[in-house]
Amino acid sequence: MSTATLTHAEAHSHHDHHEATGWKKYLWSLDHKIIGLQYLFGSLAFLFVGGGLALLLRWQLAFPSTQVMPDGNVGNPLSLAFINPQFYNALFTMHATVMVFLVVMPVLVGAFGNYLIPLKIGCGDMAFPLINELSFWVWLASGLIMLAGFFVAGGAAAGGWTSYAPLSSVAAYNGTKIGQTLWAAGIFINGLASIMGAFNYITTIVNMRAPGMGFFRMPLAVWALFITAFLLLLAIPVLSAAGAMLILDLNFGTNFFNPAKGGQPLLWQHLFWFFGHPEVYILILPAMGMVSDILSVNSRKPVFGYRAMVYAMIAIGFLGFIVWGHHMFVSGMNLVLSAAFGVSTMVIAVPSAIKTFNWLGTIWGGSIRFNTAMLNALAFVSMFVIGGFSGIFMASTPVNIFVHHTYFIVAHFHYVLFGGSIFAMFAAIYFWYPKMFGRLMNETLGKIHFALTFIFFNLCFFPMHNVGLGGMMRRIADPTAYEHLRALQPINQFITIAAIGLGFSQLLFLYNFFRSLRHGEPAGKNPWEATTLEWTVDSPPGHGNFATTPTVYRGAYEYSVPGHAKDFIMQTEPPDPDLPASALARSRPVPVG
């Protein structure tokens, strides 16, 4: 294992960062692996920016700067004086914007999509390497443009990540014409990057699979990214159109969202959520795909119901386009329409449930390896279930009217986004790190990091269900200003303490990540004894990935096949002449007679 000898000369050059050219490669490269790493480091950096904003938010909620103390003084003694209500609004707007557009999307789609797709389907690079690299820089520019809002007159955009009109579209209402414009411009530019990535991925997956890599032999991670690419392709441009209208309304006097001149504020909501609901599946599908693979490898069992998993993702992709109205139940909607959106939303829970049961089926009876990647993947499944359940509550109009715009919603989307996407991100990093950097991350530190994150995450976000049902509204800068929320203040302070614990636990991850680059145990080609193509090549793989184009003979999940010496069979291993072909073709272990 430790002799991870790199045979190809060009592969070796990947290890030499000593000379200046080595670093230049990380600024401009057409290699999908380097681009994946650019996205990885970029989005991890933004993760800490977004996390910092979140801690400021939580601090203000626990110790409001506007709280009237019992002695009549204004401002909790522990409060941060610079957080006034407008700045608070900017904080939550930018927190969500950063997390959605600059962390979860780029890390799941940009980083892992780029890194894994060519390696897993057996080709040398993406179809359009130049567009691929451009997409990274365009993405980075979009992030800087949005964050630049903090430094302009009026401050950053403050109308929420949903930027509802007319709050967002009238400068007099939002108080920051420039900040809001930068936000919309950033969203537009971010969309360009996503679209460049999306058509690149689709072209690559359809046309560049290695011989024998049929669609139904692709690992679920690739399937998930494939479907996600379609969602990006078709949903993002609608947001771009809305963003353009917003910029025009703010700066050029158009009246799209201006009711005084015949415009329709609700138009923004429809366009935004037409994008917005597919978007939440963009944020979770890649996570689902990668977790499926990690669960299977670490249970030493094939994925349960592989085809059902694929069809469920396709169904989710389709249905995701017809449920957007569930965000608008209280916006003034025809009741029949509202019922239709409620039902379609509940229908989307069916494929989600299929996936959940199949994950359970996958680990059922397996010889589970509880490594850090696996623990995070298991956390993904359980936390996604909680978030999915609260989703179904909210899908029913009467319940929704009660909980809409409360912390119950905040609990819901943090369970699916942190509990789901971010745990999956950790799982994927721990799992593919050895492939990316040739060394394993430290397992002990990893497990401590996992345990702390899991505990603090639940301590932080579960009580939000309670304060939400207790009537606490989202997007308020000072809960103590409301009579009915004062009794909840101790819970809010508790949540803040848990959030701080959650934030600081991530430093352990950071330490482990960077320490392991040099000091991690050498990984070898296939540390997890997995079957897919990326594990047949060196870690990290050389330029061009495969010395010769691999030929694929079997599905991605041949674990514990009876009658086989090893408990996994690589996808590239030719059929064993001693076994009946039918037994090998099965994706599930069957007794061989």
Binding site: L30, D31, G122, C123, G124, D125, A127, F128, P129, I195, A198, F199, N200, I202, T203, V206, N207, M208, R209, A210, P211, G212, M213, G214, F215, L233, L234, A235, I236, P237, V238, L239, S240, A241, A242, A244, M245, L248, D249, F252, G253, T254, N255, F256, K261, G262, G263, Q264, L267, H270, L271, F274, H543, G544, N545, F546, A547, T548, T549, P550
Partner: protein, 216 residues
Amino acid sequence: MSSAIVTAAHDSSAPGAQRFTLPKFGMLVFLASEAMLFAGLIGGYIVLRLAQGPGNWPPPGAPEIGVKIPPTFLNWVMIINTAILLTSSLTYHWGETRMRKGGSGLLGYGLTALFGAIFLGVQAWEWLHLKHEGMWLDTYGTYGSCFFTMTGFHGAHVFLGLLAILLVTWRAILRQMRLFSGQAPTGSHTCEELTGYYWHFVDVVWIFLYSILYVV
């Protein structure tokens, strides 16, 4: 899927023999995204227009751009302009056909560039004309907003397409010079094919925009 196009591993720098297919496929997928951009704009237009109720679109006093019988002068200008844009798709196709048969396609491509430029020029004239009549992004409620935004988005696409066609024309000039000097034209047709897809797409979008902005 052994029939799938497989780029030779290792030399991702050399796109391989299939480089014609991948870019075309990618362009088609990309155009699906472009279609959704215009679908978003058109959807918004329909919502805003229906919200005005019957008889209020165009709003009273706004310059008449809708097609009348008999057509007004402005009507004729835009009908002809539309015909010019549609013809440019035909000339482009003609250029491509000539090129595939070993010619340069210069005349077809050159005419396309000319027609594209005329279309943009006339549209700029129409914009100025309407602005002069008092219609702009911020007047007549959402009427002006929709008109200028949608034609503006489309015009920007035509402009990008025109740049691509100028490149294609330049390549045709080079081919023609080789032909004059008795050599056979070489090189791939990828650039021409991609530009063609894009240009035809922009034309089709115009048919939709023309229908809802001027006719219906």
